[in-house]
C-alpha cells in the first residue's frame, strides 16, 4: 500500500478527490470492492454513482465519507490527504464537512425530528443553543416539515423521515453530502420530494451531493454520472 502524504489544500483543489482508491476485504479469498478509482468532484456538483449490484457503489461512498479506510490509495478532501488521519480526526472531519443520507432514514428513534437535527450541531458546538434551534427549524421548514418538528421518527411517513435525514445531513452546513440510495425505500411521490430537496441543496446552498442510486431516471436527471462495474469506473460523464 502506498501511503499518500497529507497535502495542504489550495483554492484550486477539488472538493473531493480520490487517488488509486482500492478497498479489498480480507478473507480466505479476498474480495475486491473498489479498485484503482481516480476521480474528483468540485463544489456545487450533483453526481450520481450508478452500477449493478455489487459493483462497489456503496463501498466507494463509505470510503469517500471516511467511514471506511482504503486498502490502498487515498481520499483527499479540499486537497488534504486523509490516509494518515486518526479515527478521531476522521470523525471530526465527518462532523464538520460531510453529511450522510442513507437508504433507511437512520434517525435516532428516541428523539424528535428537531432533536435529531440538533444532535450534530450540539456536537460541533459552532452555534449557540438558540441559533441551533433556529437553524434546525429553518431546515425542516425548508423541506416542508414545519408541522412535524416534534414528531418522533415512528410518527412520520417514509418520505418525511428521509427528508428529516436530509435536513440532518445539512445541519452543520457541510460542503459535501453523500447519499446512499436515498430514495431506495420510498414510493414515487416521496422519491420525487427527496430528489427535489437534494437538487435544491445543490442549487441554492452550493453544496455538493454525491448520490448512489439504482434509479436510472433519477441518475439521468443529475449533472454527472459515474458508472462503476466490478469496483472500477466504467464511465464518468457530464449530463446535460
Amino acid at each position: 500500500m502506498i501511503a499518500a502524504q497529507p497535502q495542504t489544500g489550495t483554492d484550486t483543489s477539488p472538493l473531493l478527490q480520490t487517488r488509486k482508491l482500492t478497498r479489498i476485504l480480507p478473507a480466505v479469498v479476498p474480495v475486491t470492492l473498489v479498485q484503482d478509482v481516480d476521480f474528483s468532484v468540485g463544489t456545487s456538483e450533483f453526481v450520481a454513482i450508478t452500477g449493478p449490484s455489487g459493483s462497489g457503489k456503496s463501498s466507494l461512498l463509505y470510503l469517500l465519507g471516511l467511514l471506511d479506510r482504503p486498502t490502498s490509495g487515498e481520499v483527499l478532501i479540499e486537497g488534504c490527504g486523509t490516509a494518515d488521519l486518526s479515527s478521531a480526526e476522521m470523525a471530526s472531519m465527518r462532523l464538520a464537512k460531510i453529511g450522510f443520507v442513507f437508504q433507511f432514514h437512520f434517525l435516532l428513534p428516541e428523539f424528535t425530528a428537531l432533536e435529531n437535527i440538533m444532535i450534530p450541531m450540539q456536537k460541533l458546538g459552532r452555534l449557540s443553543a438558540h441559533a441551533q434551534l433556529e437553524h434546525a427549524t429553518g431546515l425542516l421548514v425548508d423541506l416542508g416539515l414545519e408541522d412535524f418538528l416534534h414528531r418522533r421518527p415512528a410518527q412520520l411517513s417514509g418520505g418525511q423521515r428521509q427528508r428529516v435525514a436530509v435536513a440532518r445531513a445539512l445541519a452543520n452546513s457541510p460542503d459535501l453530502i453523500l447519499a446512499d440510495e436515498p430514495t431506495g425505500s420510498l414510493d414515487s411521490a416521496a422519491t420525487e420530494q427527496v430528489f427535489e430537496s437534494l437538487q435544491a441543496i445543490v442549487e441554492t446552498q452550493k453544496t455538493t451531493v454525491v448520490a448512489v442510486t439504482h434509479d436510472m431516471d433519477l441518475a439521468g436527471r443529475m449533472q454527472r454520472r459515474v458508472h462503476l462495474v466490478d469496483g472500477r469506473i466504467d464511465y464518468d460523464r457530464v449530463q446535460s
Binding site: 479515527s87 478521531a88 460531510i98 437512520f106 428513534p109
Partner: protein
C-alpha cells in the same frame, strides 16, 4: 451534556430493565449501608462497654522484664551460677505516694486495689473468690460497679469496716442474702468474718460468681499485706491518650502499666479482620449488582448497534460512543445509589428499633446501629465504581463497532 442526554434517553427507554438493574444496585447499597451500620454499631457498643468496664490504664505490681539481681548490676562481665533471686514481697509499696506523683500530670481518676484469692464459706458451702480490696469512693470513680448493684450499695463498704459486696449469683449459690455474715479465708489460712452489704449483677458469669469487693484495709489484713496494693486503676479524661500515659507511668514507677488498647490487642485485631470481612461481603454484593448493569448495558449496546453507526457517521468519535455507554452504567449506578441510601437509612432505622431478650434476667436490648455518612459514601463509591466498570466493558465493544458493517447489515 449531549452524551449524558443520549445515555439517559437510552436508559429511560428501557424502563423495565432499568428499574430491575437500579433495584439491584439499590439493594446492594441499602444492605451494605445497613450491614455497615450494624457492624460498626456493634463494634462501638462493645468498645463502649469494654472501655467502661475496664481501667483505661492499669498499673500492675509486675515488671515487664525480670528485675536485675544486685550482683549482676555490679559485675556485668561475670557469669553467676547457683544464685537464688532475692525473695521480695510482691506489690506496690507506698501507694499514696505513687498515686500522688501520677496525679501531678495525669488528668483522670485513680483507684488502688489489692486482689487475692480466698474461699468464701457460708452454711457449710465453699466458693473460691477473687477478693478485691478497694477504697469505695475511689473505686466508684473508675468503674461502673454502681450501675450493676442490685441490692444494698457499694458505698456501704465505706461505712462497714468488714463489709462485703458479692455477685448475686454467688449469693444465690450459697443461699446467702443481704445482711448475712460470711467467712472469708485467705491462702495463708487467715479467716475473717464479713457482712454482705451489697449484691451486684454484671452479666459476666465469672464476675458474678467469683468476684467480691471489700474495704482495702480489711483485705490487706486478711492477705497479710499491710500498706501494699497490687494495682492502680486509672480512668482517663481522654482515652485516646492511654498508650502514651501508660508508657510514661511505667517509666516513672518502674511497674508494668498496661493501656486498654494493649490489654485488648487481640480484640482490636479481630475487629480489623471483621471489618475486612464486612467490606469484602459488601464489595461482593455490589459486584453482583454490577453484573445486572453489565447485562443491561450489553443489551442496549446490542440493540443500539444501528444508533452507534448513525452517531459515528454523524462524526461522533469512538471516545464519545464509549462515554455514552459508560454513562448509561453510571446513570443506573447513581439512581441505584440514591435509592440504596434511602433503603439503607430505612433499614438501619428499622433495625435500631428492634428489641429482643439476651439474658435470662429479661433485659431488653436493641440492635446497636451507628449512623455515619462514611457508610453511605463508601457504599455509593463502590456502587459507582462497579457501575462504571460494568458499563465500560460493553462500552469498549460499542466503540469498536464498525459502522460500515452495521449499515450494510441494515441495508
Amino acid at each position: 451534556m449531549l452524551l449524558l442526554r443520549i445515555a439517559s434517553t437510552h436508559v429511560r427507554n428501557r424502563l423495565r430493565q432499568t428499574i430491575v438493574s437500579t433495584l439491584g444496585v439499590a439493594l446492594g447499597v441499602g444492605f451494605s449501608v445497613a450491614m455497615a451500620s450494624l457492624m460498626e454499631g456493634s463494634q462501638r457498643d462493645f468498645m463502649t462497654t469494654l472501655i467502661e468496664a475496664i481501667p483505661h490504664v492499669e498499673i500492675l505490681d509486675e515488671k515487664r522484664n525480670p528485675a536485675e539481681q544486685p550482683a549482676t548490676a555490679l559485675y556485668d562481665a561475670v557469669a553467676f551460677h547457683g544464685l537464688r533471686p532475692l525473695e521480695d514481697l510482691r506489690g506496690i509499696r507506698n501507694p499514696t505516694e505513687a498515686i500522688a506523683s501520677l496525679r501531678e500530670w495525669i488528668d483522670g481518676d485513680f483507684a488502688q486495689r489489692l486482689s487475692g484469692q480466698s474461699v468464701l464459706r457460708y452454711s457449710g458451702q465453699d466458693i473460691g473468690m477473687t477478693l478485691v480490696g478497694v477504697v469505695p469512693g475511689r473505686e466508684l470513680k473508675v468503674s461502673k460497679i454502681r450501675e450493676d448493684m442490685r441490692a444494698g450499695s457499694f458505698e456501704a463498704l465505706d461505712a462497714t469496716a468488714n463489709g462485703l459486696v458479692i455477685g448475686r449469683k454467688a449469693a444465690e449459690r450459697l443461699g446467702a442474702e443481704l445482711g448475712d455474715t460470711v467467712t472469708l479465708t485467705s491462702a495463708n489460712g487467715i479467716a475473717k468474718r464479713f457482712k454482705i452489704v451489697g449484691l451486684f449483677h454484671t452479666g459476666i458469669t465469672t464476675s458474678d460468681e467469683g468476684l467480691a469487693y471489700a474495704p482495702l484495709k480489711a483485705v490487706q489484713i486478711l492477705l497479710e499485706k499491710p500498706d501494699i496494693i497490687n494495682s492502680i486503676s486509672v480512668r482517663l479524661a481522654d482515652i485516646n491518650d492511654a498508650t502514651r500515659i501508660a508508657a510514661r507511668a511505667e517509666r516513672q514507677l518502674g511497674y508494668k502499666a498496661v493501656s486498654w488498647e494493649e490489654a485488648n490487642e487481640g480484640l482490636m485485631e479481630a475487629f480489623v479482620v471483621r471489618n475486612a470481612i464486612m467490606y469484602t461481603v459488601v464489595g461482593a454484593i455490589l459486584v453482583v449488582a454490577g453484573f445486572g448493569i453489565f447485562n443491561i448495558v450489553s443489551t442496549i449496546v446490542h440493540e443500539k448497534a444501528r444508533d452507534i453507526a448513525i452517531l459515528k457517521s454523524l462524526g461522533f468519535p469512538e471516545t464519545d460512543i464509549q462515554q455514552i455507554f459508560v454513562l448509561e452504567g453510571l446513570v443506573i449506578g447513581v439512581l441505584g445509589a440514591i435509592a440504596g441510601c434511602g433503603l439503607g437509612f430505612g433499614l438501619s432505622s428499622y433495625l435500631a428499633t428492634v428489641k429482643f431478650e439476651v439474658t435470662t434476667d429479661i433485659e431488653m436490648t436493641r440492635l446497636p446501629i451507628h449512623f455515619s455518612y462514611v457508610h453511605y459514601v463508601l457504599a455509593c463509591l463502590l456502587a459507582l465504581f462497579s457501575s462504571g466498570i460494568a458499563g465500560l466493558i460493553p462500552a469498549r465493544k460499542a466503540a469498536k463497532l464498525n459502522p460500515v458493517d452495521i449499515i450494510r447489515g441494515a441495508t
